[in-house]
């Protein structure tokens, strides 16, 4: 099993390298000079050339890539073109906020997903199953940014129970309670898609296990429902856990839209800002950090999966 883990880690390195290449290439493919966003349009040619040389934009692309990569490896993601502050610091703060959202959305989505999915599987064919399946499909088909707006309309505008924006009150109060109040709506909006996906997966997985012969054997032995349920859940767990890991990764990366609606100061918000300000270092930094997290998360999920599912023991 250790050789599997080692091999998986080994293969992770070229993937990461590939990620860096893509991030680098993407933003250099972008139309528009990165220079033009830094200097006014009528800057004299010598100034433009000087800045070019200073920032290293005149070297061939592979050289630029290498210099960028070495800097990144040392933790220097450059300075934001907009705020002149180090990119890494900004990302660190923002990422923490996104993590908050992602974790709470994951909790809501996963718990709901497992509960609904299991219920649907045990009541297969009856109206409860159909109702849950309908909810699951709706969860996957709903545009979460639209739901975010709906939630704001209902809970903020109409009922005025919960705040619509940001993480803290504008008056400066920042207690845990305030944080929670601000977190509820975005977490719910974000949790919809994972909930839908997990519900469907849990339902399929549990159903598959229920139909296997060993469950029939257990029940014919006269075992109580609770014992059978425990056995069933243990067997149905591995693919669901893998999926949960993946979904968490999507939550980290895909929170942009919800963060935009709620003006939540997370990495997605930062990304959005960076696109519009054409803040290349910030853009590169955010995408790189998020992608790296995702790769490592996938790695972890793979390793955990191979540990808990005895069928995948590699020699």
């Amino acid at each position: 099993m250790w050789s599997y883990i080692l091999r998986r880690l080994l293969f992770g390195i070229p993937t990461l390298l590939g990620v860096t290449i893509i991030v680098f290439t993407l933003l250099h493919l972008a139309p528009g000079d990165p220079i033009s966003s830094m200097l006014p349009a009528d800057a004299p040619l010598e100034v433009v050339l000087m800045i070019k040389q200073q920032m290293g934009f005149d070297k061939p692309l592979p050289v630029q890539y290498w210099r960028w990569l070495t800097r990144v490896a040392h933790g220097d993601l450059g300075n934001s073109l907009a705020t002149r502050r180090p990119v890494l610091n900004e990302i660190r703060a923002a990422l923490g906020n996104t993590f908050l959202l992602a974790i709470s959305a994951a909790c809501i989505g996963f718990t709901m997903g497992v509960t609904l999915g299991t219920t649907a599987a045990f009541f297969q064919g009856r109206w409860l199953d159909k109702a849950v399946s309908a909810v699951a499909i709706a969860g996957v088909s709903l545009p979460h940014y639209w739901v975010a707006i709906l939630l704001i309309i209902v809970f903020s505008v109409t009922l005025n129970w919960l705040p619509a924006m940001g993480m803290q009150e504008t008056s400066g109060g920042s207690s845990l309670w305030t944080l929670l109040r601000h977190m509820i709506l975005p977490s719910i909006a974000l949790s919809l898609i994972p909930m839908g996906v997990i519900t469907r997966m849990v339902r399929t997985s549990v159903l598959e296990v229920l139909q296997q012969d060993f469950v029939l054997t257990l029940r014919s032995k006269g075992l109580w429902a609770r014992t059978v349920t425990r056995h069933v859940m243990k067997n149905a767990a591995p693919p669901v856990l893998t999926l949960m890991g993946l979904q968490f990764g999507y939550l980290l990366g895909g929170s942009v839209l919800v963060e935009t609606v709620f003006s939540w100061p997370g990495s997605g918000f930062l990304l959005n800002l960076a696109i519009f300000q054409r803040d290349i270092p910030m853009l590169q930094g955010v995408i790189l950090v998020l992608a790296t997290f995702f790769v490592m998360l996938n790695l972890l999920v793979d390793i955990v999966h191979s540990c808990i599912d005895p069928r995948i023991r590699r020699t």
Partner: protein, 359 residues
């Protein structure tokens, strides 16, 4: 394997199919860098002949290499060492057209009636495909398909347009047979054709096979793990164990007076309907050893009640016993203790390396 009397006998023969010192080793990869760690010696030095018009039965437990042998004879996979001759000519096809010509003569009926038919092709098309591949026009191919479907007992007007999922297991196997016969082959290899069928259906299909052989003048190589089926159908029997031949001879000889301890145990293992023939303990104990690390010398020695010291040293060669064409690979019947010499026939370079590694 060297010094095999079988091989020497084959020098002067006019058999339809002759196999000499056939070897196929499958590499097993593992570890950090996916390097080759061991070889599964699926077929390890097999030599035999098939005469025109006879049915050669090959019997053995799961994992003894029967299916690999079938695919080697059909030239679907390449051997690592050894030679196959068909009708006197070397059978290893060197080009696509040579392979095509070979397939006209030698066809195979596969084991699993469920996955051996394309689920998205109707019966007619599935059988006619073989004919189309060999240059027949669509109409000729369809006519041939209809003809051969009739021969196997499936009315083409009723079954032609059906899909595999609409047929029973026995019917699908008939389609399999029809597909193999549409090209008028000389030799048909049957890889456990009735193993997945119910007993009653098995009997029907076996009878069909006999009728077809008689009517069309076919030669069969019939592979099975079921002794009764082999006894029923074959003229000669070949007993395989872990990639090697243990015993070979006419069905009558082998079934009434088996010589090799393994064959004896196999025949004793089939349950009898006679309550007085109860056994005290099973004749064959334990599981077959791992094909990646077979026992040294005679492969059967770990389960053999008569194992001797020399059985662990070298593998016993396949030698004729008496003059009735029965061959056994067992030191109980030979007085030869000569050490093995070099192989009789040239090996491919890959085969040589593998042979060296296995010594």
């Amino acid at each position: 394997m060297s010094g095999s009397k079988v091989v020497q006998d084959m020098e002067q023969s006019t058999s339809l199919l002759s196999v000499k010192n056939l070897r196929k080793y499958f590499p097993v990869r593992g570890g950090l860098l996916h390097t080759v760690q061991a070889y599964v010696k699926a077929v390890d030095g097999v030599s035999f002949e098939v005469q025109h018009g006879e049915i050669l039965g090959i019997v053995g437990e799961s994992g003894c290499g029967k299916s690999t042998l079938a695919r080697l004879i059909q030239c679907l996979i390449e051997p690592d060492a050894g030679e196959i001759r068909f009708a006197g000519q070397p059978a290893m096809p060197t080009s696509a057209s040579a392979f095509k010509a070979f397939c006209r003569q030698v066809q195979m009926v596969f084991q699993d009636p469920y996955s051996s038919l394309n689920p998205r092709m109707n019966i007619e098309a599935a059988v006619a495909f073989n004919a189309i591949v060999h240059g027949n026009s669509r109409t000729t191919a369809r006519n041939k398909a209809w003809e051969v479907l009739r021969k196997v007992g499936l009315r083409p007007e009723q079954f032609g347009r059906r899909y595999p999922h609409e047929l029973s297991g026995g019917q699908r196997q008939r389609v399999n047979i029809a597909r193999a016969l549409v090209l008028d082959p000389t030799l048909v290899i049957l890889d456990e054709p009735v193993s997945s069928l119910d007993k009653s259906v098995q009997a029907q299909v076996l009878n069909l096979l006999q009728t077809l052989k008689h009517d069309l003048g076919l030669t069969y190589v019939f592979i099975s793990h079921d002794l009764h089926v082999i006894e029923y159908l074959s003229d000669r029997v070949l007993v395989m164990y872990l990639g090697q031949i243990m015993e070979m001879g006419s069905t009558e000889q082998v079934s009434t007076a088996p010589l090799h301890p393994y064959t004896q145990a196999l025949f004793a293992s089939t349950p009898s309907m006679n309550p007085d023939e109860r056994l005290d303990r099973p004749p064959l104990m334990g599981d077959p050893p791992n094909p990646m690390h077979p026992p040294s010398g005679c492969r059967f020695r770990t389960r053999c009640p008569h194992a001797m010291e020399q059985c662990a040293a070298t593998s016993p060669p396949l030698l004729q016993v008496g003059s009735t064409g029965q061959y056994v690979a067992c030191y109980l019947y030979s007085d030869q203790t000569a050490p093995p010499g070099p192989p009789l026939h040239p090996l491919s370079s890959a085969g040589e390396e593998i042979y060296r590694m296995s010594q």
